[in-house]
């Protein structure tokens, strides 16, 4: 726990423009930093401070977007006229939250299970990944379904998870030439990252399979993204038949 206290104390608060700050706990991809970032994000949202528009949790910290006009109406204990008023307000509030923040024991929320149909038309690069590592496709699938995955943040595309924890043995460089279209639901590998594309987009990841889950649900205001920062993940293999069944249940959006 001392480690966490130390991380919180050393938080750096930097302006991200004059209407946002970036609170950083470090510059490495690390589960502890990620935990601090998520905890601060949820505390800030609970704080109800008028003028805070939104918080975005990243790998190593939190960006807080605010309205300088509204924050200008907040009181400051110690004001330095040489500094931006709203920056001082937001910094003071963040420091206060950090000083009082208690991180409980690691939560043991159940893993989110993501079904994946590997190989074939769903994973055109599975063979390549297997060859690259001198494995069989089955061995790649076994490795991919055995990883202990953590969602660090959601970004790049709506509902797209930046996932850490890919077994080193199947880490594979991106494709030399990115594909112009990656089908929705595609599950891929890029270096030591793995993830799933919620929308059809261009991209250079090695595609090993596809999930029938609708990862982005724009009409669900509460949970537009099935995954959230901090989720622990597990991929499990399904057959093409199961893929069809789940896709139909999900609303038939995945083809």
């Amino acid at each position: 726990m001392d480690n966490i206290t130390e991380i919180l104390k050393q938080a750096k608060i930097q302006p991200l423009g004059e209407a946002a700050v970036q609170v950083s706990f470090g510059d490495k991809i690390d589960p502890q930093l990620s935990r601090c970032a998520r905890a601060l994000g949820s505390e800030l949202e609970k704080s109800g401070l008028a003028g805070i528009k939104e918080c975005e949790v990243g790998y190593t910290g939190v960006a807080v977007f605010y309205d300088p006009l509204l924050l200008g109406q907040e009181k400051l204990a110690h004001q330095d006229p040489e500094l931006s008023y709203s920056f001082q307000v937001i910094s003071e509030r963040v420091r206060k939250i950090l000083a009082e923040m208690k991180l409980g024991a690691e939560d043991n929320a159940p893993k989110v299970r993501v079904p994946v149909c590997y190989g074939g038309e769903f994973g055109p690069d599975l063979e390549y990944v297997a060859e690259y590592h001198h494995m069989t496709p089955e061995e790649v699938i076994k490795k991919h379904t055995s990883g202990d995955y953590l969602v660090y943040m959601i970004g790049f595309a709506p509902g797209f998870p930046y996932v850490g924890g890919l077994p080193e043995e199947i880490a594979t460089p991106r494709r030399k030439t990115p594909r112009l279209v990656i089908p929705k639901g595609s599950v891929g590998i890029a270096g030591k990252q793995t993830g799933a594309y919620p929308l059809e987009t261009p991209g250079g990841w090695q595609l090993i399979g596809r999930t029938p889950l609708e990862l982005f649900r724009p009409h669900d205001m509460e949970h537009p993204s099935v995954l959230a920062a901090g989720d622990r993940l597990e991929f499990y293999a399904i057959t093409p038949e199961e893929f069809k069944e789940i896709a139909a249940r999900e609303g038939g959006g995945s083809k």
Binding site: P15, Q22, E56, F65, L69, A157, G159
Partner: protein, 332 residues
Amino acid sequence: MKILVKKSGPMTTLQDLGRVGFQKYGVLVNGAMDSFSSRLANLLVGNKPQEASLEMTMIGATLELCAGTIFALTGADLDAKIDGLAVPRFRPVYIKKTCTLRCGFSKQGCRGYLAVAGGFDVPVVMGSKSTYLRAKIGGFQGRALKDGDELSLGTPSAALEKFSQRLAAKGGPNAAFSTVTWFAPGNFVFGDEKIRVIQGQQYDWFTPESIKTFFSTPYEITLQSDRMGYRLAGATLAQKEERSLVSEPVTFGSVQVPADGNPIILLADRQTAGGYPKIGAVVCADLPRLAQRQPKSQLHFKEVSLVEAERLYLQQEHYLQQLADVIERNLQ
């Protein structure tokens, strides 16, 4: 009431002030590139400033407007005409009989905004009417307008009733539209003064020469620029040493520099996070002016302090508030 889109123009989308609160789910903010002009257009027709407007890029749309429609144009001068008569910008315009508003190529600025009294009646998706092109949600059917689209309009505020009657009585019996003699000054968005920038989080990663270069030489907005970002061409910028950055949140106006040294200014349709070092951030008060610069035009940057950026922000908000107060009185 409805608007029939006869010709959409190359990039005409519905935009409000953006989809706020969902970046943590990777959902882009979107929203008007020049939010000042979009807010002003809405105020001029008695709407709330956060209502959506039509953002037209470089070439405007041709629209059939019904009798009784009140609309306002702000931002770029898209050479708008009705029956061959120029339609003035920055003021409410009343349509006396169903007619066609024809816009053309921009004579000044890059993005024109059209707001209608009552706003556009499209579904609110995740708190916003902004078009999210990539995700195909929001705006009109989640896409840019096409020829033949029909846009439904909302009901104008009741407070506008008297004003509407006054405008209906103005102009000759054959006139297609009538308007007022006053206008709201929203022309500052075309100012070509330097674009002001505050230091970005990785400002110190760049060599002193590069920082000096960035703030003293011109950069051209290349043709590979859109609502997502302006890709700039000019002197390339070098880092002191090769360092890698873990992806982190970015904002509207962030100036990031990829390995090739050519800066990119992130705009309304930016991704929620980026992994390139940020040399600076364009101050919010200069984003409307930036949004009105056409491709191939030159930008000069000037470094300002965070305190100055905040002062400019508040000054612009107060200016808009003053305009809002005067407009509200004039619409009574």
